[in-house]
Symmetry: none
Subunit: 226 residues, 2 copies
């Protein structure tokens, strides 16, 4: 079952799109502004986002930028501005397709399907990641070490999942904060240490000698990839 997040400030359009997408077999989540969209994207982890660029307040382009800091999920953009420049900018920012207003709901559904087919084929972000004998299952929100389950809080899970998406790559505390909180504020950065400590306590055989969560002195942390 696929989830689509629809972001538009006009309730009429949201309803219309929701109906058609549900008709087509999608689960639909909606948001009416930028912050709401980001929150919803974070929480529901949709398979695709339909985003109206003409949002009040936060610019639609900013929404995509923020989105891109924590997820590569595909985006289909709706815009009233027909200038080619807008389209290009939208596409450069990683949008996967666009529609100009007024658009037909049927076409929207077709585009959503097409984009999902494309990104699925390309193999988007893996939903289950294995690092050493650690298994991180995003849809089930579960982590196992070998055969035994490990109980994590949601923040701990998000942090681990962010690292696991690119094993071996070093993340700064700021990047990790963005991954779990959406914003990076220097003052909170030491809190990452605490989460890492708790994660280590829960999943390292010997927390004093981390095998998975490796400290990179002066830089940040990374998840061992071998």
């Amino acid at each position: 079952m696929r989830t689509v997040l629809v972001v538009d400030d006009e309730l009429k359009i949201t309803r219309l799109v929701r109906d058609y997408l549900e008709q087509a077999g999608f689960v639909v989540v909606t948001a009416s502004d930028g912050p709401g969209a980001l929150a919803a994207a974070r929480q529901t982890k949709p398979d695709l986002i339909v985003l109206d660029l003409g949002l009040p307040g936060l610019d639609g382009l900013d929404v995509i930028r923020s989105l891109r800091t924590f997820s590569p999920m595909p985006v289909v953009v709706i815009t009233a501005r027909t200038e080619e420049a807008d389209r290009i900018v939208g596409l450069e920012l990683g949008a996967d397709d666009y529609l100009t207003k007024p658009f037909s709901p049927k076409e929207l559904v077709a585009r959503v399907r097409a984009v999902l087919r494309r990104t699925d084929a390309a193999g988007l972000a893996p939903q289950v990641m294995v690092v050493g004998d650690l298994t991180i299952d995003i849809p089930r929100h579960e982590v196992r070490r070998g055969p035994v389950g490990v109980e994590l809080t949601s923040t701990e899970f998000d942090l681990l999942a962010a690292l696991a998406r690119q094993p071996g790559r070093v993340f700064t505390r700021g990047q990790m904060l963005e991954a779990i909180r959406g914003v990076s504020f220097p003052s909170y950065e030491r809190a990452i240490d605490a989460h890492v400590k708790n994660l280590r306590r829960k999943l390292e055989p010997d927390p004093r000698r981390p095998r998975y969560l490796i400290t990179v002195h002066g830089v940040g942390y990374k998840l061992a990839d071998a």
Copy 2:
């Protein structure tokens, strides 16, 4: 190799920015006023433009508008006016990021890189560099000589990465300090020697006969390019 066009009417700033960007491996073209910027943009087709909004004569915003009539290339804006309005206008006009004066050159380089990474899905500045049988992997913060990993501190890593960005080119101690500390203060310059010594100990087969980290007497060091 990526080209960046820098537009500023203050020669001092232009020079500073040029140095840092070249250090980062970019080809730099400069212009000091709006018309010059547009001409240079047309001719050299840079991959990105760094534009000071406080230009005399033609307004910086007009420059962006004119630019947009013939190219969607990314723009990073520098402004002394801190009002949020300016920022938004700048972004609405298709600028991709902004900095407020005074700004740190290091941050400018970081932003330029970030914007290029974003707009150019392929990712630009090589994240993994190979020099001889040395491999320097930035995201993983790892260095290998042939197949064997070499453990470096973060300063050593930064120093080596800076040299590796332009193999064969000689760097003064001051330039190396800037690369690893962001500022160059004469007093610290001898510390570079210590770092070079430690680097050699860790990655030269015979530290007495350096193969990679070559001393250029009276000038500085360079990384052998073959």
